[in-house]
């Protein structure tokens, strides 16, 4: 793996991986919905960057997509390895400056509206994100809905977009990553040629979105007329990812809700006879996917006869038990194996690999951390898990309840 910084500040990371004749290119820009200023602008801008790009990429036989997260927007493309040079040129062209017209804004605003409808007007749509964020957070940057709403997006002008691009899409605020069946030296040469003469602009100064931990439990409820059963989401603030605490928090999520006999489901079945469907993870969208502040989130879909309070009691009882005694060694070993298996499987997809490398460079300045993930996870001890469990206190928890359809 190689890493260089071009004269205009663009960071370039290249990893050779020759097991299949494919390669992936990712560009991460250091702006997500926390830094967008106007609700939904980062996501709409992500759409606008695609003007014509899909057609080019598909013409060489690849696929591409993008996502807007808290602290970054990433664009990624997977192609047969021979097409990498062409993709690099395409990415350089849109980093130089996309063509954004009022007509394109109108069309993409309606596409975004359709996307939001598709994702929210379904059972448990918008659950837990974006509905949990305003319960846990107070600062608008952290709390607001990153999809944005259609009404406010309609008033965005080409000039708004130009300013957004000027401010956030500079080479110095971006990371270019290539992974796959390529030669690193050749890629660096093409990248220097394609991106090197994009004029330098200063990267926006880093902004902290830190806010104080909730001083008390917070709670909200909304009705979902499409949901057949009640549900709840519990969100807890977690330490800065730089502390390394997220590995034990991730193991904790696995012990509580993963594997063949997850602790929470087993406890509720034993105590109430009811079956509850749980999931939990650290990171609003993904593991080590954002800077501070981020959260640990648990969701549960439960039968109406079992009140939310009973579900939460079980969660708290398991957290207390794990904080006091930690997990058993065999239980923890299985949890590690399951994580490692999932990790290898995910890394077998070049799109996942390139995106992980790129976001680790952008968020933490350290793409090499990817290679160390299995060891970091394997080093999690029962005592680490116990400490992680003690962090998730009911008195600073955000609770979101979903009231299902009647009858």
């Amino acid at each position: 793996m190689k890493r260089v910084t071009l004269g205009n500040g663009l960071r370039v990371v290249v990893e050779e991986e020759h097991s299949a004749p494919v390669a992936a290119v990712a560009v991460h820009y250091g702006v997500g919905f926390r830094g967008e200023g106007r609700p939904g602008l980062a996501h709409l801008f992500e759409h606008l960057m695609f003007d014509g790009h899909f057609q080019y990429v598909e013409g060489v036989g690849g696929f591409c997509n993008a996502s807007t997260r808290q602290d970054y927007t990433d664009f990624y493309t997977v192609v047969p390895a021979g097409a990498v040079a062409r993709v690099l040129n395409l990415e350089a062209a849109r980093m130089r400056g996309p063509r954004i017209t009022a007509r394109a804004i109108r069309a993409q605003t309606s596409v975004v509206r359709e996307e939001i409808l598709g994702k929210t007007r379904k059972p448990y749509g918008g659950f837990p994100w974006p509905r949990l964020s305003p319960v846990l957070f107070r600062d608008a940057a952290n709390a607001h809905d990153g999809y944005g709403d259609h009404a406010s997006l309609r008033h965005i002008t080409p000039q708004d977009c130009e300013e957004f691009f000027e401010r956030h899409y500079s080479p110095a605020n971006a990371v270019l990553t290539v992974s796959g069946d390529v030669r690193a030296d050749a890629v660096l040469e093409i990248a220097a040629h394609a991106f090197g003469d994009i004029p330098a602009r200063p990267a926006p100064p880093p902004v902290s979105y830190h806010e104080p931990l909730p001083s008390a439990a917070r709670e909200a409820e909304y009705a979902d007329p499409l949901a057949p059963m009640p549900a709840l989401a519990a969100g807890h603030r977690v330490p800065d990812p730089a502390t390394g605490a997220h590995f034990a928090l991730s193991a904790l999520a696995g012990l509580l809700t993963g594997g063949g006999r997850p602790r929470l489901r087993e406890r509720l079945r034993r105590e109430s006879g009811h079956t509850v469907t749980f999931s939990a993870r650290v990171g609003l969208f993904d593991f080590l996917d954002a800077r501070d502040p981020d959260l640990w989130v648990l969701t549960a879909v439960h039968p109406g006869e079992l009140p939310a309070g009973r579900v939460l009691e079980a969660v708290d009882a398991e957290l207390r038990a794990l904080a006091a005694d930690g997990p058993g060694e065999e239980e923890l070993r299985r949890c590690r194996t399951a994580w490692l298996t999932a990790h290898h499987r995910s890394m077998d997809r070049v799109a996942n690999r390139v995106r992980l490398l790129g976001r680790f460079e952008l968020l933490f300045g350290d793409p090499w951390r990817v290679a160390g993930l299995p060891d970091a996870y394997a080093a999690v001890t029962a005592a680490d898990v116990a400490e992680a469990a003690s962090l998730l206190r009911p008195d600073s928890r955000a609770l979101l309840r979903v009231a299902p359809r009647k009858g």
């Binding site: 047969p80 596409v111 996307e115 469907t277 299985r334």
Partner: protein, 390 residues
């Protein structure tokens, strides 16, 4: 490349990629002719998914079969877990799995897409077993019924020598025999009824903010000589974002977030599928724009450039999408599970390269006539156009 074991199990070993995991898929035929049978299959699949060891396993059931997915770091552990699954016995007491499945069914069936899929199947296939749906109240006791190795297929992919993969499978499955009482493997379900054109039905979804257009027309199966040409023509119409439907309905008019065409080969069928989701207000306009693009496939046939692009996309996406080991294993077993030769997957790029452009034009001319399509328009009653036709 395919090895058939003495008990009849077909084993397809594959060396692919570099990750340390073994990816295996086991297709077990189990035709279901009623809801009780399908409920038992579905419950067994859920039980098989609840393992508590180092092999990750999941299973999916439909009216034809159970397909088991297993992966993990150890070759022997993965094959022996699958051999256990082939006994047809739940690894644990099925009570918890039943409760979990009941909750899942309640949640899944609340999704409008699932409801629309059920309606579409009934509209097209009447009372064929393919339209059977399990409800939570159908879940009963779990009879232990061994599977028959004759007709079953195992795909096993890893970084080891294929012969070593096949040997490991041979050892793990050696003790699996057809039960003494069954002379012949179970007969497959009857073929799907033919889809007649021109039957577009309305499915009223009061209050639905988004409408769903779901169309089907007869096609040819993957092994048919005309399949690659029709595949390219379908890509030109709507197979990817550079297609005509995407350009018109999404990029130009902004009516839809998603519009797609694909081959619907579920239940052994061979159908062209065209699907779009649109806001209630643009329902009629989206349907009209879609019909116009179908007609244009005949009045303005695919150009040389469109065919070149569709072919490059198809070949490139075969390479990129099948690169992960899990993806190629799944593609091979899907083909086997549809009763077709799994090696069709590996031979498809060669066939795509060989298609002459005039055959693509001929396929567009013959297969895309709007009157050949039937399907559903699921929408709020106020959003439904007066005239339901293409």
């Amino acid at each position: 490349m395919i090895r058939t074991l003495p008990n009849g199990l077909r084993v397809l070993p594959l060396r692919h990629g570099a990750t340390p995991l073994v990816e295996a898929r086991l297709h077990l035929p189990r035709p279901c002719r009623d809801r009780a049978g399908l409920a038992a299959s579905t419950l067994l699949a859920t039980c098989l998914s609840q393992r508590d060891d180092d092999v990750e396993m999941s299973a999916a059931a439909d009216v034809h079969q159970i397909t088991v997915t297993a992966y993990g770091p150890g070759l022997a552990a993965v094959t022996s877990a699958l051999a256990q699954a082939a006994r047809g016995t739940a690894p644990a007491e099925p009570g918890p799995a039943r409760a979990q499945l009941a909750a899942q069914l309640t949640m899944v069936r609340a999704h409008p897409d699932v409801m629309v899929r059920e309606w579409l199947a009934r509209h097209l296939f009447g009372d064929h077993p393919a339209t059977l749906q399990v409800r939570p109240e159908d879940l009963g006791p779990l009879p232990s019924r061994p599977f028959d190795p004759r007709g079953a297929t195992l795909v096993i992919a890893g970084r080891d020598d294929p012969a070593a993969l096949a040997d490991a499978a041979g050892a793990a499955f050696a003790a699996w025999h057809p039960s003494a009482s069954s002379r012949t493997p179970p007969a497959p379900l009857p073929a799907l009824p033919a889809v007649d054109g021109g039957r577009i039905a309305a499915l009223p979804l009061p209050g639905a903010p988004q409408s769903r257009i779901r169309l089907r027309a007869p096609a040819v199966p993957p092994e048919h000589p005309r399949y690659p040409a029709l595949f390219l023509a379908l890509n030109v119409l709507g197979g990817y974002l550079s297609s005509r439907l995407s350009a018109s309905l999404r990029e130009d008019k902004g009516y839809v977030y998603g519009v797609t065409t694909f081959f619907d080969t579920a239940h052994g069928g061979a159908l062209l599928a065209v699907e779009a989701d649109t806001a209630a207000a643009t329902t009629g306009a989206a349907l009209a724009a879609l019909a116009a693009e179908l007609r244009r496939m005949r009045t303005h046939p695919p150009t040389v450039e469109e065919i070149r692009s569709a072919r490059a996309y198809a070949l490139g996406s075969m390479a990129t999408r099948l690169a992960p080991r899990a993806a190629i294993a799944s593609a091979l077993i899907d083909m086997a599970a549809k009763g077709r030769d799994p090696l069709l997957v590996l031979d498809f790029p060669r066939r795509l390269e060989a298609v002459p452009a005039p055959q693509v034009v001929a396929a567009a001319q013959e297969f895309f006539a709007p009157e050949r399509f039937s399907g559903l328009l699921a929408a709020d009653p106020a959003a439904l156009p007066h005239h339901l036709a293409l």
